[in-house]
């Protein structure tokens, strides 16, 4: 069968760049295939996506050599409109892609632009809405939908055109674990129903492999370094060398000394063939690992009692929350969107005032303190650093909070320099912030909070949108801060984060705390996983399949081993 999409020695360089962003790209995709394009941030995978959907060369200008053909015709001879009839793109930012005022209008958007008139217009919208299961929400505004529902609408919006290729740019980035799993199932289902080829751009390998993928195209530094079936890639060292995280069960098998080969079908924990020999190796490794000593108990820092909060709209976001956090802890606050975890952080920081209950720091009630006064004790770091940065120079940005507090300039200089050292920003101290990477900007915002010397910092989704290397960077940095005695609390839906870094996870659901335990215990508890829209870790399944009687302990020891032996 002829391929739908074919790249032949394609190179592209943006007009504003000194060097090409993608080099010598050659691959092809046939009807009905499902391809994963993986690679670390900056490897050129988003640029490649733009070359597929026509934004390059029609919106972003630059020089190219080689050919990209769709159904045998070169894309540069087509218009962006013709390309969009063949390639349907679902962008990462589902709020940006949702351009209609309601679900129905958004699904109708492409049809409206094609001058499709009623009654056909309404009929097609309805049938696509039924296909992706949003037909009962047609009149809803985007603000009334969950992240998963918005993504379904985005998908419906491209499915109204009978496209041959569905292109997904980081479809998992903004979803909680259970919804991410459903998203992969939905993509799979849509592919089977429509027969379209699917191209997924992601770096979360294990989550994408929840459903079968035909090939993985691995990119690094703008080049394709591998184009092979998942089983083959998972058996070699390329993935980890490129900074892509392999599935946890594979890491565990490797720790245990097992060799991974393609004929083991390692692409899923459901398919992987475990010989008795391998199972025994895993059991041996488990028995050889000592259980970690329990952490010593520190005095209570934050004490929250019977806290309730209702928004003016009448939404009861928090219902009688009682919890305490000890000095020096590294805690994850998890749950789905709307579970109350963000509201909890906002009430603790004094952004919102509770109707009932108390928030106390070292026994002192914080009710009477203003936002600014509370911020001296509890710092808050927003998810997107671009939402906090308002100065041009790094120094001024970090100094902002001190200057508004009237600290003498000499002391400001000393404290800012100190914070820059701690955050690893000292070499960049005279750079403009715009020259920094996303991860470095994140450090700037953390520095600008640390400089106020709070007892505790709360971070909203500290690792959102980060590839594995940047994720590790940020988390190692937070662990280091924690070791210096700063209490850290992270609001997140990232399971890896809660499992690997947090000593403790507090799980919110429906405005209540439904669990407060170690990550390993939570991610092996089916009832909690279901209620909080989490996903069980594949380590748990591995432990079961190896016949271990305490899968929880296995998960915990794996984490401890990574923390102690591997990362150091």
């Amino acid at each position: 069968m002829d391929p739908i999409l074919r790249f032949e020695s394609f190179t592209f360089q943006y007009s504003s760049q000194a060097e090409p962003t993608v080099f010598d790209i050659s691959f092809s995709v046939s009807r009905g295939e499902k391809i994963l394009i993986a690679g670390p941030s900056g490897c050129g995978k988003s640029t490649l996506a733009n070359c597929i959907n026509g934004l390059i060369p029609f919106s972003y200008k630059g020089e190219s050599t080689g050919r990209v053909t769709l159904n045998g015709r070169e894309t540069k001879d087509l218009s962006i409109f013709e390309i969009s009839k063949v390639v349907g793109t679902v962008l990462q930012d589902s709020d940006g892609q949702f351009v209609g005022l309601t679900v129905a209008e958004d699904i109708a958007f492409a049809l409206e632009n094609d001058c499709v008139a009623d009654p056909e217009l309404h009929e097609r919208v309805r049938s696509v809405a039924e296909l992706v299961d949003v037909a009962t929400h047609l009149g809803h505004a985007p603000g009334e939908l969950s992240g998963g529902q918005k993504q379904r609408v985005s998908l419906a919006g491209v499915l109204v055109d009978d496209v041959d290729i569905l292109l997904f740019d980081e479809p998992l980035a903004n979803l909680d674990p259970a919804t991410g799993k459903q998203a992969m199932e939905l993509i799979d289902e849509m592919q089977k129903k429509t027969g379209a080829a699917v191209i997924i751009i992601e770096h979360r390998l294990e989550d994408v492999l929840h459903r079968d993928v035909d090939r993985i195209i691995l990119m690094r530094d703008g080049r394709i370094i591998a184009d092979a079936p998942p089983d083959e890639l998972l058996s070699g060292p390329l993935l980890t060398e490129t900074g892509i995280r392999e599935p946890l069960y594979i890491t565990a098998l490797k720790y245990a000394g097992a060799e991974i080969t393609p004929d083991m079908l390692p692409h899923s924990i459901r398919t992987v063939v475990l010989s008795d020999e391998v199972k025994e190796k895993v059991r041996e490794w488990y028995r050889a690992m000592p259980p970690a000593p329990p952490a010593e108990a520190m005095p209570e820092l934050l004490t929250v009692r019977d806290l309730s909060f209702t928004y003016p709209s009448g939404h009861r976001a928090l219902k009688g929350i009682t919890v305490s956090i000890r000095r020096g802890e590294l805690t994850a606050v998890v749950g789905t969107n709307g579970a109350g975890k963000s509201t909890f952080a906002k009430v603790v920081c004094g952004f919102e005032l509770q109707q009932q209950g108390t928030v106390a720091l070292e026994g002192q009630d914080m009710m009477a303190l203003s936002i600014k006064e509370r911020a001296d004790r509890i710092g808050y770091v927003m998810q997107n650093p671009n939402q906090m940065i308002s100065k041009v120079q790094i120094f001024d940005e970090v100094a902002l909070g001190l200057r508004t507090r009237g600290v003498p300039e000499e002391e400001v200089t000393a404290r800012v320099e100190d914070a820059l050292q701690v955050c690893g920003l000292w070499p960049f101290r005279s750079w403009p912030i715009s020259a920094l990477s996303f991860g470095q900007k994140k450090r700037v915002t953390i520095a600008s909070i640390l400089v106020l010397e709070p007892d505790m910092i709360i971070l909203d989704e500290p690792t959102a949108g980060q590839d594995y290397r940047h994720y590790t960077d940020i988390m190692e940095f937070l662990t280091e801060l924690n070791a210096r005695g700063i209490t850290v609390c992270m609001v997140t839906h990232d399971m890896h984060l809660m499992l690997e870094y947090a000593r403790r996870a507090i799980v919110f659901s429906g405005g209540e705390i439904i669990a407060d335990d170690t990550g390993a215990n939570i991610l092996t508890d089916e009832a909690i996983i279901r209620r909080a829209s989490l996903k069980e870790t594949s380590l748990y399944d591995l432990a079961l399949r190896c016949g271990l009687d305490s899968p929880r302990d296995f998960v915990q020891r794996f984490i401890d081993y990574e923390r102690e032996a591997v990362r150091k």
């Binding site: 959907n53 934004l55 919106s59 962006i80 409109f81 969009s84 009839k85 793109t89 962008l91 930012d93 709020d95 940006g96 892609q97 949702f98 351009v99 209609g100 005022l101 309601t102 129905a104 209008e105 958007f109 492409a110 049809l111 409206e112 632009n113 094609d114 001058c115 008139a117 009623d118 217009l121 309404h122 919208v125 505004a141 985007p142 603000g143 009334e144 491209v158 906002k346 920081c349 004094g350 952004f351 936002i371 600014k372 509370r374 911020a375 710092g379 808050y380 927003m382 997107n384 671009n386 939402q387 906090m388 940065i389 308002s390 100065k391 902002l400 909070g401 200057r403 508004t404 507090r405």
Partner: protein
């Protein structure tokens, strides 16, 4: 805030008119009420607009929040007019019947009559705006503009404004909370210049992130064929019916009536003092 403009979904003859019709009627009605100061006509328009309110099944209670603002605005404006120009009535009507006091602030019948007219002017125009706001689905608004001959690109930017107002509002709120925690203040305690500088430290991140959004949204729209043809259809568009045509004709007649009255009166004002 999903219902910023207070659209109230009910089933009434007014709701069934297309958005385009209502918009044309709003413009014509406002134009008629603006072009004349004929007391009788303003009174008639005011009464008629209250009758239309009944017809639309929107109660005063539904719009009391907006009525509150309007009343305040109206009172302040009346006071301002009186303070600045206590003999405005005499200038307009050419006579002076003093009721009490003397000098610049002597209260004249003409001034009172002018204020009555000014007040009626509000009553003739504001309820109709409230009526439009509460009976027109915002989703239909852009489609209506396009139907009335506004280019669809411009009409769609109106739709985009409506779409992104809640997002911008939420983002502003979040940024402002985080910046307040860092000590940014905009209250009266700080000087004017520092208040504005503070506002900028919220605005800068808000606007830079909005510019990223502009980039994403325009890509998303192009990838879904926006701008492909000279025309586009609208999911929320509706065809005109007899009632639509009748309403528009009626409002054209209102404008004609206003001009006729102005001609008969010899000016925009109905003058009982001559």
């Amino acid at each position: 805030m999903t219902n910023l403009f207070n659209y109230i979904d009910r089933s009434s003859p007014i709701h069934r008119l297309t958005g385009a019709t209502k918009f044309v009627c709003l413009l014509l009605w406002s134009f008629a009420a603006m072009s004349t100061y004929d007391t009788r006509m303003l009174l008639a328009l005011a009464l008629l607009s209250f009758a239309l309110f009944r017809l639309s099944k929107i109660g005063l209670r539904d719009v009391r929040f907006m009525l509150g603002f309007t009343a305040t605005f109206m009172v302040i404006n009346n006071i301002l007019v009186y303070l600045f120009s206590p003999q405005h009535g005499t200038e307009i009507y050419g006579t002076s019947h003093i009721l009490l006091g003397s000098g610049r602030y002597a209260l004249t019948q003409e001034q009172l009559f002018y204020h009555l007219n000014y007040f009626l002017k509000y009553l003739a125009t504001i309820p109709i705006v409230l009526l439009f706001v509460s009976t027109t689905n915002p989703s239909e608004f852009a489609a209506s503009l396009n139907k009335l001959g506004v280019k669809y690109s411009v009409a769609y930017s109106v739709a985009l404004a409506l779409r992104y107002i809640p997002d911008v509002q939420l983002e502003y709120h979040e940024i402002s909370q985080a910046q307040q925690a860092r000590g940014i203040e905009m209250s009266k305690k700080a000087s004017l210049v520092s208040r504005l500088r503070s506002a900028s430290s919220i605005l800068i991140p808000l606007i830079l992130s909005s510019m990223e959004k502009i980039e994403v949204v325009s890509n998303a729209m192009e990838l879904r064929s926006f701008g492909k043809h000279k025309k586009r259809t609208w999911y929320m568009g509706r065809p005109f019916r007899a009632a639509d045509v009748a309403s528009m004709v009626f409002c054209v007649l209102l404008v004609a009536l206003a001009f006729t009255l102005n001609h008969i009166n010899g000016s925009r004002f109905y003058n009982p003092f001559r």
